[in-house]
Assembly symmetry: C2
């Protein structure tokens, strides 16, 4: 078993929290009484859209980059991503004064390329499929002696994301309340794994669920099957951030014994959740960040009379997608 396969523990999460203390935002737990009325329970929204770079990904990336040696930092770090992980790595590298190399698909939106460059990263556009992009990334890491920051299957990345769970536990205690359920958007499964590790220790009676878009519900099906299963190719979803082909080896090993189950929502349900967050919470949530709230609104879990924490994991959404989401529903239906 190589180093990277070592599984994270609660202590890794606690240690990550120390490192992140003065750099990550302790994001608020938001509540809207009219939203509570709408679902008949208490909904507390962990607003990671307000995190540095607009998503939780900064936490794991920063924790991983913080483990590099001074010598490694003279060369730099590397990742492949067109989205939130790329921005997290770029921001972390900037703080550690090392170079970030970001391999992105040639089709990446200009805005995302520009944001990484604005944080000092070097963007390498790759014309090819996901597998060839991964291969190019690994080759580049070897060639230049760069540290590869994996998007989820890394104990330090998982531990960094787990600090969201520590904050949830602390914020519930400050409110003198208890969460029956915690719902977490899931792609490779690093965020939900980290949160499950944190809550297993700090709120063991809370049921943790992953939430995914239809067509990319590999975690839900893997949890049901008890073994990792992949998504069928050729599916599409509005959730651009949640399209990993299968759960990670490490993340699934963490999640399998700890999650109560996986919830699945469709694109229309996601758009409705984005619109509800716009109206009642006044936050910008990207499609992939809204799948947990969508699962509540669509009744995938019973929240009546219960307290549920849902993570709004990211807010990096193109204006056109957001405009479409908030324009497609009858807003009068959302109150009383």
């Amino acid at each position: 078993m190589n180093d990277e396969a070592i599984h994270p523990t609660f202590d890794h999460v606690a240690d990550a929290a120390e490192r992140l203390r003065d750099v990550a935002v302790r994001t608020p737990l938001l509540e809207a009484p009219l939203l509570n009325d709408l679902v008949g329970g208490r909904v507390l929204v962990k607003a990671e859209v307000l995190q540095r770079t607009g998503s939780f990904k900064f936490r794991g990336a920063y924790n991983r980059v913080s483990r590099t040696t001074q010598e490694e930092r003279t060369r730099g770090v590397l990742c492949f991503s067109s989205g939130n992980h790329a921005q997290g790595v770029a921001a972390a590298a900037q703080l550690f004064k090392t170079r970030a190399y970001i391999v992105m698909p040639a089709t990446a939106p200009a805005l995302k390329v520009a944001r990484c460059k604005a944080m000092g990263a070097e963007v390498i556009l790759h014309d090819g499929d996901r597998r060839s992009m991964e291969q190019r990334t690994e080759a580049l890491a070897k060639e230049k002696g760069l540290v590869l920051v994996r998007p989820f299957d890394d104990r330090f990345v998982i531990a960094g994301q787990g600090t969201v769970g520590l904050e949830i536990a602390a914020q519930l205690a400050e409110r003198q309340t208890f969460a029956d359920l915690v719902l977490v958007p899931c792609s490779g499964g690093g965020l939900v794994a980290g949160i499950a590790l944190a809550l297993e220790r700090q709120s063991p009676a809370t049921a943790v669920y992953s939430a995914e878009p239809a067509g990319f519900d590999d975690m839900a099906r893997s949890l049901a099957a008890g073994t990792r299963v992949a998504n069928a190719p050729g599916r599409s979803s509005i959730c651009d951030a949640l399209q990993v082909p299968e759960p990670g080896a490490i993340t699934f090993a963490v999640n399998k014994p700890r999650l109560r189950g996986g919830l699945v929502v469709n694109d229309d349900e996601v758009r409705r959740a984005m619109a509800i967050a716009f109206e009642h919470l006044k936050i910008v949530v990207e499609p992939g960040g809204a799948v947990g709230l969508a699962a509540i609104l669509a009744g995938r879990v019973d929240v009546r009379g219960r307290t549920v924490v849902v993570v709004a994991s990211g807010g990096n959404v193109d204006p056109a997608v957001f405009r479409s989401a908030i324009g497609e529903r009858d807003h009068r239906s959302s109150v009383a």
Copy 2:
């Protein structure tokens, strides 16, 4: 001098903070490094869009309603407003288990009527101009023995809004930093007056400015003239929340010796600020809530190398208005 003309002091603000402690949201001070880069200074955004009811107005309304007697609460409270003040009063009345009567123009959006009703308020639609609506409201107050909650020219309302200033001072201290400037959206002037009272005591070297839309820049012109002047009739602005005809008597008396000046922005500048908040801060800001940020982005004050706090005072915006704001600019221009 009657009771209502008594001016608020710092002690009123501190007392309001005690009453609001467990009911108002201590809204976060948000920061986005790429936004800082864009303006060449440090911008800290006090996100009152995340306040209960989606704007700061809850603070003043709650503080005022908290002063009613048990006997007054058997009858109820009253206000005239189609917007944020109405929702603040409705929410405050609900918490004190008293009835809220809200007089709104017959043209008020269905959504705003629905939101007040959802909080248990009785909405009275009035077909007539502002002056006749005020008269009807005062008549109703007398007839039913209701307590009128004024939108700004009331020491308890001003003191409640001033708790925003106390929080800003505390949050700056937590960051071990100092604000050179604080910019506050302004209509009747209650929010900026309360903040100025708080900061006069807690951060006296900070310069406080009001921010207003063109055509409704009565505070800026009144500050310049040294006496209250009204807006010319017939003007229009995208900022529906900031269209009071002239500064309040009490608010102007508080503001005149305490504000450094008044800043004025146009509709395009407001829309750009809404889009920048969407992109960099991931919050939903209504037009009137964005005038302070607009003043920074438009260069109305010099923030280069300085730290500026700007209040994003509300987020209750119709989807169509928001869609138009985030769709009308070239987003690539906002980074690098």
